[in-house]
């Protein structure tokens, strides 16, 4: 089992506990949120605020995956869930053209009067802020976003 701080092996390389395969269309993102929040609810170490964080991060990843397909066709987005003892992993995978997160365009700072000219580019910073680890694996075959949330065990006495 991976210890905190140790690199967690990306989920896609191992069998997932739950796999959700949805059409790459906007109307299915709410289903991904529903599934993730109900899976996360089964981890009693996670408070509602952490479940909300994960739900939003997954929603952002699914949105990016869907937007990777332009124009939208019959493509799919695959979400894989894996329960670790002290963490959980969600992998959102598309087969779009891929992107390099280090080359995302710079946006003006939020205090810059020009900021309202940019409506996009908030999803990746949100994902990074909401979960404990975010990894992007992009190749010609698509992009995989792996999100990890640590679930510290409930201290004895609080059970």
């Amino acid at each position: 089992m991976a210890a905190r701080g140790e690199a967690v092996r990306p989920l896609g390389w191992e069998e997932a506990d739950v796999e959700l395969d949805i059409p790459a269309r906007p109307e299915y993102v709410s289903l991904a949120r529903l599934v993730v929040s109900s899976l996360a609810s089964s981890r009693r170490e996670l408070g509602d605020d952490r479940i909300d964080d994960l739900k939003l991060a997954v929603s952002e990843a699914c949105t990016n995956a869907i937007e990777a397909y332009e124009p939208a066709g019959e493509e799919r987005v695959v979400l894989r869930w894996r329960d670790g003892q002290d963490h959980l992993e969600v992998d959102v995978q598309d087969q779009g053209p891929g992107f390099d997160p280090s080359t995302l365009p710079e946006r003006p700072s939020v205090t810059d009067p020009m900021r309202p000219n940019f409506e996009r580019g908030l999803g990746v910073p949100l994902m990074r802020a909401l979960v404990d680890e975010v990894m992007f694996a992009s190749s010609d075959d698509g992009t995989s976003v792996i999100m990890v949330l640590y679930c510290p065990p409930v201290p004895p006495g609080d059970e």
Partner: protein, 111 residues
Amino acid sequence: MDLGFEVDQRGDYTVLAVRGEVDVYTAPRLRERLIELVSQGSHQVVVDLEGVDFLDSTGLGVLVGGLKRLRSHDGDMILVCTQPRILKVFEITGLTKVFSIHDSVESATAA
């Protein structure tokens, strides 16, 4: 999943109350409503987010776009939001510095 809207005029302010989940699927409807209000001459708009259960970056993008549109008409957009999970999204992205966020429609329209 649907997005609900209610429009109410309070003095100089047009109050758009939004209900439901704002994401990549529903955000275009919010954008349309905002564009509609601006084209009808509402330039002081209060967007009441108290009935919103979920808001992601596509929703934020639409609000930022609405603010920009209103400002180009010398107008403004004021938000009403007290829910911690929605406020958090504005805080993380730094948009609390871009929007004026109030805790009630009364306080927003008294501004």
